[in-house]
């Protein structure tokens, strides 16, 4: 499956370089959908102070892109979502490649070293620890392609994330209340306008995972199930009616979008999780074919650079 002439070592090196580029893309270039939503917000905003803040945000994006600097200094907890085809060659090497690429990217881009020992408080200095970068695996049957999405999750917005197992009696109403209450409590702390996601499932871990999946969905994209999509629309309206606004200053949208992702529940549980993403909602995706061809669907302008 691998092109004649490319050794496994060369293949691994290539994927490692591509992963460094993926991390650069995420840190430097905000995804198009988020950028569009911010530009639209700027155009509509009437508040003088809020307009200045949005101007700072848009100027910031321009400087970051022009100078290839990380747009925010908090380059986050690094999470890789890997969807790997069962027939993708070197599936077993991906774990090592992603970790090594993270350490290299930390030095090269550079990223902020954000991996801290929970007992001693010591920073590893290269964004690699026993568990970080976190790698979320999904094996895809009958496929020989790997799709890797990286999320750089800032600490300020993650600080308000919640997970709680409600009773079935509290149910959906309890879940909706949790979203409103999280947005209310977050206020200016999460760098609004935010993206908020609600995840529902049988266990706390499932709910949290569903919520994170919601944060990965592009702004403006509705859930395919119309019942869920309707809840998203209602939550979007309700949270924006709170009125926290741009950086909590009382004018403009508090959220750019709300996404809901649902798994099934257990008869006795109704687990909910609410996750918040700052306006700097950084994510990037790359696809690797079995013969080592790499493309960046989220940042397709990078494909031309080779």
């Amino acid at each position: 499956m691998v092109k004649a002439g490319i050794s496994p070592q060369e293949f691994e090196e290539k994927i490692k370089r591509a992963t460094v580029k993926l991390l650069m893309a995420a840190a430097v270039y905000l995804p198009r959908d988020v950028k569009d939503a911010l530009e639209e917000t700027y155009k509509k905003e009437k508040g003088e102070l809020q307009k200045k803040m949005l101007r700072s945000i848009l100027d910031n994006l321009e400087i970051a892109e022009k100078e290839k600097r990380p747009l925010c200094q908090d380059t986050g907890a690094i999470i890789f979502y890997v969807k790997v085809g069962e027939k993708f060659p070197y599936m077993g090497s991906l774990h090592k490649i992603l970790r090594e690429a993270t350490a290299e990217a930390t030095e090269l881009i550079p990223l902020r070293p954000n991996v801290v020992d929970v007992i001693t408080g010591k920073n590893t200095g290269n964004n690699v620890g026993n568990y970080l970068p976190w790698i979320d695996w999904e094996v895809v049957p009958n496929s020989d392609v790997a799709e890797i999405t990286v999320m750089l999750k800032g600490g300020g917005s993650e600080a308000v994330s919640m997970m709680k197992v409600l009773t079935p009696a509290e149910g959906l109403k309890g879940a909706l209340k949790a979203v409103v209450d999280t947005a209310f409590e977050a206020g200016p702390r999460t760098c609004p306008p935010n993206i908020i996601a609600l995840g529902i499932g049988a266990t706390g871990e499932i709910a949290a995972k569903m919520a994170k999946r919601g944060l990965l969905r592009p702004v403006g994209e509705r859930h395919p199930d119309p019942k869920v999509a309707e809840i998203e629309e209602k939550l979007l309206e309700a949270i924006n009616s709170l009125g926290w606004g741009i950086h909590g200053t009382g004018s403009g949208p508090t959220v750019l979008d709300v996404h809901v992702e649902v798994a099934e529940r257990h008869p006795a549980t109704y687990a909910v999780s609410v996750m918040v993403y700052c306006w700097a909602a950084r994510r990037a995706t790359m696809k690797i074919t079995a013969d080592g061809k790499v493309t960046y669907p989220s940042h397709s302008f990078l494909d031309k650079e080779g």
């Binding site: 003088e48 102070l49 200045k52 803040m53 700072s56 945000i57 100027d59 910031n60 994006l61 400087i63 970051a64 100078e67 600097r69 990380p70 747009l71 925010c72 200094q73 908090d74 380059t75 550079p110 990223l111 902020r112 070293p113 954000n114 801290v116 408080g121 010591k122 920073n123 200095g125 800032g154 600490g155 300020g156 600080a159 109403k173 909706l176 209340k177 409103v180 209310f184 206020g187 200016p188 702390r189 999460t190 760098c191 209602k234 939550l235 309206e237 309700a238 949270i239 009616s241 709170l242 009125g243 926290w244 606004g245 950086h247 909590g248 200053t249 009382g250 700052c278 306006w279 700097a280």
Partner: protein, 201 residues
């Protein structure tokens, strides 16, 4: 709401700081020190023991920020430098303002009653730089004049930065004790019931 614009240079006097009101905009030049949770904690511990701090904060500005840095030809360079959430530092700030004589605090996300009290009593302001704007922040930093307490890690060390027209900084807590975010929050509290109603709660 006033929205006057000021250009200040550190060190700033108590008189200059007391002129500022919530909603005002500041562009700051001069020396600015970064100081986050761990830096505040260590500073207060040292001061309690009667020991000296590595820099003199009197009349100066602190920035709640942990930068991305790189070393080029032996010199530190700032790559990205936006604010961190200040609410975590609320526990330390009253004592720090009192004991250090700092005049301008820069962060994001807001601070609480104790900090507002300190601003009023000792003559200081809390301002925010637009959260997430790390590349824009870095452009205002002309050079790194030094670094202290690197043992705390890059984000928590004290970075001594020379800045030019760093801003816009928005005054959120002034030395009259007014807190812009507290005023917004009062309104939001009234909107909460309405938001519940929209969802049938």
């Amino acid at each position: 709401m006033s929205m006057a614009e000021y250009r200040l240079r550190t060190p700033v006097s108590e008189e200059e700081v007391r002129k500022l009101s919530i909603g005002d905009i500041v562009y700051l030049s001069g020396t600015v020190y970064t100081l986050r949770d761990a830096g505040h904690k260590r500073s207060l511990e040292l001061l309690a023991k009667g020991e000296k701090l590595p820099v003199d904060f009197k009349g100066m500005a602190i920035y709640h920020m942990g930068p991305i840095v790189k070393k080029k030809d032996g010199e530190w360079e700032i790559v990205s430098a936006g604010p961190t959430t200040s609410t975590r530092i609320e526990a330390y700030e009253y004592d720090f303002v009192e004991k250090s004589g700092v005049r301008i605090i820069i962060g994001k996300g807001g601070m609480g009653k104790r900090t507002a009290e300190a601003c009023k009593k000792f003559g200081a302001v809390y301002t925010i730089f637009t959260g997430g704007a790390g590349a824009l922040g870095a452009k205002a930093i002309q050079r790194i004049a030094g670094v202290h307490w690197l043992d705390l890690g890059v984000p928590e060390a004290i970075w001594v930065m020379e800045v030019k027209d760093f801003g816009p900084l928005f005054v959120i807590i002034d030395s009259k004790g007014d807190n812009y975010y507290e005023q917004v929050k009062e309104r939001i509290g009234q909107n909460l019931k309405e938001a519940y109603a929209k969802l049938g709660l």
